[in-house]
């Protein structure tokens, strides 16, 4: 199993304990997770994420067998195409983009261009709906959540696009999914880190309505407890116990092939 939603480094709005790469490897061992896609948390808040990407590559290099870099690439920053090539060279399975934190609207042309280019290189574009619950945010954390409209716009951008959307809840997932064609739906994968389990059973309802194959395993470590998504899977009703999530690796290959995976 691969955890597609992990980060290293500090968070600007609260203390996050032990957010280093070596700790992450120990957590993966403890939880029986084979590999993680790893972003650099502070880069979401940098104007220029380039130094953050350098720090990410450096930190993960000794742990490359377990931790795969997911650099942040800002499409309104000069030389983003070079950053994308660097990501490919570094073996990144995906790139991260943070439209709300970077002030990019839901129909930003640069974002569409980035998602298409990443897909053509076999990389997914990883989006973050939120880092924290709205009710606990610092007064300076005013970016707001990623909108469903932004996700729909990127899903419609082109055949090569593959999106991994993290930290979404049931309402947003349904709004996006049923606002896309069948072909566009196949370009979007959702991590299960923020979806409610019982008694509301949002995860079970989503598995039944749009299919478990649209979901991937993600924890949002180090911000959230690693145990949450597995607990959610363990509490699925009996009829869903055999449900299989999408394989993260297949997302990347499908992006490269332009295939209608799933």
């Amino acid at each position: 199993m691969i955890d597609v939603n992990t980060l290293i480094g500090p968070y600007p709005f609260r203390h996050v304990p032990h957010s280093d790469a070596d700790v992450l490897v120990r957590v993966l061992d403890r939880e029986g997770i084979s590999q993680a896609w790893v972003g650099h948390l502070p880069s979401a808040f940098y104007r220029d994420p380039t130094p953050g990407n350098t720090a990410l590559y450096t930190a993960l290099a000794p742990l490359a067998a377990r931790l795969r870099p997911v650099p942040a690439i800002r499409p309104d920053w000069p030389q983003w195409e070079r950053a994308l090539r660097d990501a490919t060279s570094a073996g990144a399975p995906a790139i991260r983009a943070y439209p709300p934190q970077w002030g990019l609207g839901p129909h930003d042309a640069g974002l569409r261009e980035l998602a298409i280019a990443a897909g053509e290189l076999g990389m997914a574009t990883l989006l973050t709906v939120r880092f924290e619950d709205l009710r606990q945010r610092h007064s300076m954390d005013s970016a707001g959540d990623l909108s469903a409209a932004a996700i729909r716009a990127l899903a419609r951008a082109g055949e090569s696009v593959r999106l991994v959307v993290t930290a979404a809840g049931r309402e947003m997932i349904e709004e996006v999914h049923w606002g896309l064609t069948v072909e566009e739906q196949r370009r979007v994968f959702w991590d299960i880190s923020w979806i409610w389990g019982p008694p509301e059973d949002h995860l079970a309802k989503l598995f039944r309505s749009i299919g478990a194959e649209r979901f991937v395993f993600g924890t949002q470590w180090p911000l959230r407890l690693t145990q949450t998504p597995r607990a959610n899977l363990d509490l699925l009703p009996d009829d869903l116990h055999g449900a299989r999530l999408a394989e993260a690796e297949q997302i990347c290959s499908a992006a490269r092939d332009g295939a209608g995976f799933g």
Partner: protein, 286 residues
């Protein structure tokens, strides 16, 4: 999934009913029992919040809806005596009704009082309720927003500091500070209540911030925390599993899982927990 043989008390649960404005209410109740069995919950200590907004607001329930909801809980306790216990819900804006409901429901087995967000926690209108709670040994589960910085719609929210003022006025009453993971900044709550030994935060809520459990234990100690789920049992299970890996002793884990609850609720509220643990560990509640 094989649950631990150690008892487990969910100190913050809710059930729904036909008057709650949702057609799937029975499914949601059944899902709570299903997940509870999977996790090994020995007792669900639960409340019904009036009509949950259907005929009066969830956090400002009318007296009629309060009574209806409490009747639902009384019936559920009668049907499920081995696994359900009850908080009697009251709205302190109706003081006579509130005290009457407490009398009525405690006589039929309620073991605690549930306060929503109908009135700020430190408001003098809560005093008669806290007085009864102290006299009868009934813990008060108070809905809390961790660090209120402004008013929010649909609730008159209270935070740890507000509840601490009430708890200081009634040192012989025990208060359960609701859902550390239920929204707001829990790091504000710890210093706000640290000097009130009669405040017991519960761990429920959808929030699963890494570091929250460690900080709670460091600030307050395992003797002051209660395990619970509220609306998300997956996060409750995640927190249980996290408690197992953050370096706590078996006794600390047992305190959070059930011993603290057994200590602050009326005696013999949880016979299956105390009986089961005698067979497992040979010990009584701390």
């Amino acid at each position: 999934m094989t649950p631990s043989p150690e008892p487990l008390i969910d100190a913050h649960a809710h059930f729904y009913h036909a008057g709650a404005g949702r057609t799937d209410w029975a499914d949601v109740n059944a899902a709570r029992f299903r997940a509870g069995d999977q996790m090994g919950i020995t007792y669900h200590v639960a409340s019904v919040l009036g009509s949950y907004g259907f005929t009066s607001p969830t956090y400002f329930p009318s007296p009629e809806d309060v009574t209806t909801g409490n009747d639902v809980m009384l019936d559920l306790c009668a049907r499920e005596p081995d696994r359900v216990r009850m908080f009697v819900t009251v709205n302190p804006n109706y003081p006579v009704h509130a005290l009457t409901e407490i009398d009525r429901c405690v006589a039929r087995g309620a073991i605690g009082i549930k306060l929503l967000a109908s009135r700020r926690a430190d408001d003098p209108l809560l005093d008669p309720i806290a007085d009864v709670a102290a006299a009868r040994g009934l813990p008060v589960l108070h809905h809390i927003w961790q660090h209120r910085r402004r008013e929010w719609p649909s609730q008159e929210i209270s935070d740890g500091a507000d509840l601490a003022r009430l708890a200081e006025r009634f040192p012989k009453a025990n208060f359960i500070l609701a859902h550390l993971g239920g929204g707001g900044d829990y790091m504000h709550t710890f210093p706000a209540v640290v000097d009130c030994p009669n405040i017991y935060p519960d761990l429920s809520g959808s929030g699963v911030d890494r570091g929250m459990l460690d900080a709670a234990i460091e600030a307050l100690g395992a003797e002051r925390l209660l395990w619970g789920c509220d609306l998300t049992m997956c996060t409750g299970l995640a927190k249980l599993r996290a408690l197992d890996v953050i370096g706590l002793s078996a006794r600390d884990i047992a305190n959070i899982r059930w011993r603290n609850a057994a200590r602050i609720f009326p005696p013999n509220s949880f016979p299956r927990a105390t009986r089961d643990t005698r067979s497992v560990t040979g010990s009584e509640p701390a």
